[in-house]
Subunit: 609 residues, 2 copies
């Protein structure tokens, strides 16, 4: 035990601890110092060196060869890998020629003077350094070993630092208040993805909300002015790839603000929290309206790191006597759209083109025309013989296409054609990259605002009815508010999405703050039962300020920044695809006795009975 | 809409907003400036002034009396209280003699030039300024109005700032990583207070954990070195006063640390986050062993703001022929303990003394002797005639008692007597304070460590069996570790509690980091089924570093700091006593259809069927 005074004086990574340094902190400037390190035996080279690892990295320890320290040497050489030790020793220069430039501590080593074995590692299903090559389920089962990898250590550390900087920006610079809102709440209307939590009152359930949406708005009504929370949210979606039943969003809401205010706030936030070692982010972020995004990219979250934009070639093909083209172009809302895949003729194979056509058929119920522009400039396509040279020329010009490229054409109603080409555009990029063609710069971060979404969309199962494109609290675009009552389907909203490299990493809106409008939308447009939201309606009528906000998906944002293939790589203890914790075995069976206080019984399916 | 450039240049409370200042920011240094304010109409005085409120406080607006602005005046005078407005006007000095010294903005007023009504307040169940006088259930039902009170605004803001400073201390100064751990987890052995969450797999449930205990230890095994989290925790306790089904703890764990290290870390943490406007906290905090705390205060979380300590008076009373005293003193483990209540004879009434006796009888099955020391020095007590003057004198001396004081004596086994007197000590303090006697300084903050708790306690329903005094992962005291195998009941632990003004606001321990010892304790001492914890046992065997930590109850800590009577006053949306959200009506009934995916049905009690 050390004196309190000693501890109190320290800061940094080794405060309150017997170690003097973290492994990777050592450098040639420490030569001559006696240091104490604590860590894991990463490996041993012959009986000469031990490589010690802690959270910070590696340090090379010199095993004493002196006869007087033979016990120490024997102990050290008998220890299993991943055993935890504390060593004290002197920092010395490595002998000439033995420095390791690739190791941050590569110029020095520590000559061990004394050793304490803190915990022997007995079982290890595999070596730590090979761990990432193991199956994901093994990694998850032994997550506490998986997390020892430098990549996972660095991911979690970066995540913590990034959130800390966000907090500093919001709290310290812009006067936001961090408010915790309940997660045991009431079921929201249509909240089919909300987990239920039985209470001790028969038949009554709490619900784990998908976001603090109602609370953040109520906090604005409460006059809190500026709220944020790094909020745990819940979504029961069964098995969706790369989704987690619990996830984290940076939840922000402020009063007396317009859309520009929120966008500027978020740009500053991203800029402020951006890791220092990466190239800085420039603001303002570019912005596209929803309809522009659909027109150019066929998707509302375009990946703007590469071109291959959608081009409307209807005009060029007007009057062409090919069945599906003619039909499309003659229809008042029909069009022909195309993308040009640079180098596609060379790098994409027949089976790729077949799979594109299949995607078009099965997922979009559309025909796809493919034009391979051979290196000699000739066209390989069933279309070719139907198109006069002038039309071909016009198409090439419009698409800025060259020999060696690939053209994909689809015809029909714009709302059907664009999503198809939007999807194929991304597939082409992935296929080209898989074959070694540089399409997207892996170090590029393209932020993009998508704005002016429609406020309502036709319901999928009943297109005469409207539903909210995002959620029922979104305010209409000021220029369209007058249309709300007569032509609600034409109203744009004040919703905005933040897109990074083609992933939606945030979304928000200016909210309706007047009860009368909110009531109209809920009752007349959406035909919702407002009784479930009566507390919110009353709140809006009690002096609600104009307000708006945003929620950023923290897991996804961090995953993109660190270049992780899955959000599971930036979450300490994620659930599997099926929502299981493979380490502990959750969810698990519980006894009838444990269920009794909650007045529920399990409804076993037939085969269990 | 404002230009992005304009927004980007601003920091502070009014960035990204059309307002130029928050109400309470204005002072005489702004005289002559044109300002824009946004807020709520708090009240109107005649047709002359409007008092505008925002999160920061109040500002006085001067209603224009000029004929040319008669429309503006009429609008203003027609607005209901709590209506939300935006005003632009010039800051002017108040006329001589009209300054209000009690208002931070009391020297100035704003002469309104233009007005925008942002939202009319239509309904209001009561005036905001009277709100705190209303019933708690009404406050909860209209929480968004309750939160407009200056006290609640200040409580939530202080909480946010305090947590921010804690984060800065842990992350920025001491290298801790903020890691989020799952709340959908596996039921822990004996976790009777854990909420259950049905999954979509029949019969399988997640459990909402009471703390991230397992995860924090696994993070240490994972080599994360220093972890913290402001963690949401859950506890289903039915109705306990001033408990919440979800609550927040500042959860801390670090590797390569001993007890002194954690205590010093926490002292620095409290010191760092302490509100600047309050007198600073001095460190180190005083410390008592568990047995000292029980001996002096009869409780393991003593309120050290006042004396009235327990005194062992057995010796003085040895040989006294009063039935219950003699019996107690003659018993080998028996004793007589007493407290002296200064001024108790004067301020406590007969009915108080009767209630003390009743408490002793019903809750502790003990007799209580009461001695009233009259102002003239005489004793009013059934004991009086049995005690020679010399013994009386000795008692008074031991208890430092004077005329006007009250003595409470109890006799029997120490473990029974001390808790009784510990409880009466607190009751006396409360009663005296209720009668206007200053016992505890309301502005004093007495931190105290309680250490050296027993590791195990006899089970209440089977005293031959031992159970963990805190939790099964607590390490034994190093001096007692050798007793673990032969005399486990004698082993002290490395558990520590942090007590503030008699409330436990934190607890933690150094953990067992060797699998063999953990296995022994779980299997041999506690007779637990270790299969439920097999992942933790495996983890300890895979190179677990020595580690320890603490969890601080944030809600309680903030409540004490702001002087709130209940933790509900520092939580934005608390649940009622019965666990209900009175605003939304959670928990609520859900349809059978909504339960179907979770394979559960409600077991209605007989009267519902």
């Amino acid at each position: 035990t050390h004196s309190r005074l000693f501890y109190g004086a320290c800061t940094g990574h080794s405060s309150f601890s017997p170690r003097t340094h973290a492994c990777a902190e050592l450098s040639s400037k420490h030569v001559g110092e006696e240091v104490t390190l604590c860590g894991w035996i990463q490996y041993r080279r012959h009986d000469l060196f031990v490589i010690l690892r802690d959270f910070s990295g590696l340090a090379q320890l010199l095993i004493p060869q002196d006869e007087s320290l033979v016990d120490l040497k024997n102990t050290l050489c008998g220890l299993t890998l991943e055993t935890v030790i504390k060593v004290t020793g002197k920092v010395i220069h490595r002998p000439p020629g033995q420095a390791n430039k690739e190791m941050p501590t590569g110029e020095i080593e520590v000559s061990i003077g004394s050793l304490e074995v803190l915990n022997v590692c007995r079982k290890l299903p595999f070596e730590i350094k090979d761990f990432v090559k193991k199956s994901e389920s093994l990694r998850m089962q032994y997550r506490y070993l998986d997390l020892r990898s430098p990549q996972m250590q660095s991911n979690l550390r970066l995540r913590s630092q990034l959130v800390m900087k966000m907090r500093e920006y919001l709290c310290n610079i812009h006067g936001f208040i961090d408010v915790e809102t309940p997660t045991l709440f009431k079921r929201t209307p249509g909240g089919a993805k909300e987990f239920l939590v039985p209470s001790r009152e028969p038949g009554r359930f709490y619900s784990l909300p998908q976001s603090p949406q109602q609370f953040k708005q109520l906090l604005m009504v409460a006059g809190l002015d500026r709220y944020f929370q790094v909020a745990r949210c819940y979504r029961d979606e069964g098995s969706k790839p790369d989704r987690q039943p619990e996830f984290t969003q940076v939840d922000i809401e402020m009063s007396f603000v317009d859309q520009t205010g929120i966008l500027t706030l978020v740009e500053g936030l991203i800029q402020h929290c951006w890791p220092e070692k990466m190239s800085p982010v420039s603001v303002p972020f570019p912005s596209l309206t929803y309809s522009e995004a659909m027109r150019q990219y066929g998707v509302d979250k375009p990946d703007t790191r590469f071109g291959m934009k959608l081009v409307d070639v209807s005009e060029a093909l007007y009057g062409i006597e090919v069945g599906f083209l003619r039909e499309a172009v003659s229809h008042p809302e029909g069009c022909v759209q195309a993308i040009c895949v640079p180098g596609g003729a060379k790098h994409l194979k027949n089976k790729d083109l077949e799979s594109f056509k299949q995607t078009a058929q099965t997922q979009f119920n559309q025909e796809l025309s493919v034009v391979v522009l051979k290196e000699d400039g000739s066209w390989k396509s069933p279309l070719s013989k139907h198109l006069p040279d002038s039309v071909k020329h016009q198409l090439l010009q419009k698409l800025q296409a060259e020999a060696g490229d690939l053209l994909l054409l689809a015809a029909g109603a714009a709302e059907g054609v664009r999503p198809l080409l939007g999807k194929l555009r991304l597939q082409c990029a992935e296929l080209l990259e898989a074959r070694g063609v540089a399409v997207r710069d892996p170090s590029a971060f393209h932020f993009l605002w998508v704005v002016d979404f429609p406020l309502f969309l036709p319901k999928e199962d009943d297109p005469d009815q409207l539903e909210s494109a995002h959620h029922p609290f979104t305010a209409p675009h000021p220029e369209d508010a007058h249309l709300l009552y007569a032509q609600p389907h034409k109203v744009r909203s004040q919703h905005y999405d933040l897109v990074l490299n083609g992933c939606e990493i945030g979304g928000g809106s200016i909210r309706m703050h007047r009860a009368s409008m909110q009531q109209y939308v809920l009752e007349k447009v959406l035909k919702e039962d407002t009784s479930l939201l009566s507390h919110l309606m009353e709140a809006l009528d009690s002096g609600a300020p104009p307000h708006g906000g945003i929620a950023l998906g923290l897991d996804r944002l961090v995953a993109i920044i660190v270049g992780a293939p899955s959000i599971r790589d930036v979450i300490a203890f994620p659930k599997s695809f099926r929502g299981h914790d493979l380490m502990s075995g959750a969810p698990d069976f519980v006894s009838e006795e444990e269920l009794r206080p909650y007045h529920v019984t399990v409804n076993w399916p037939a085969e269990h009975q």
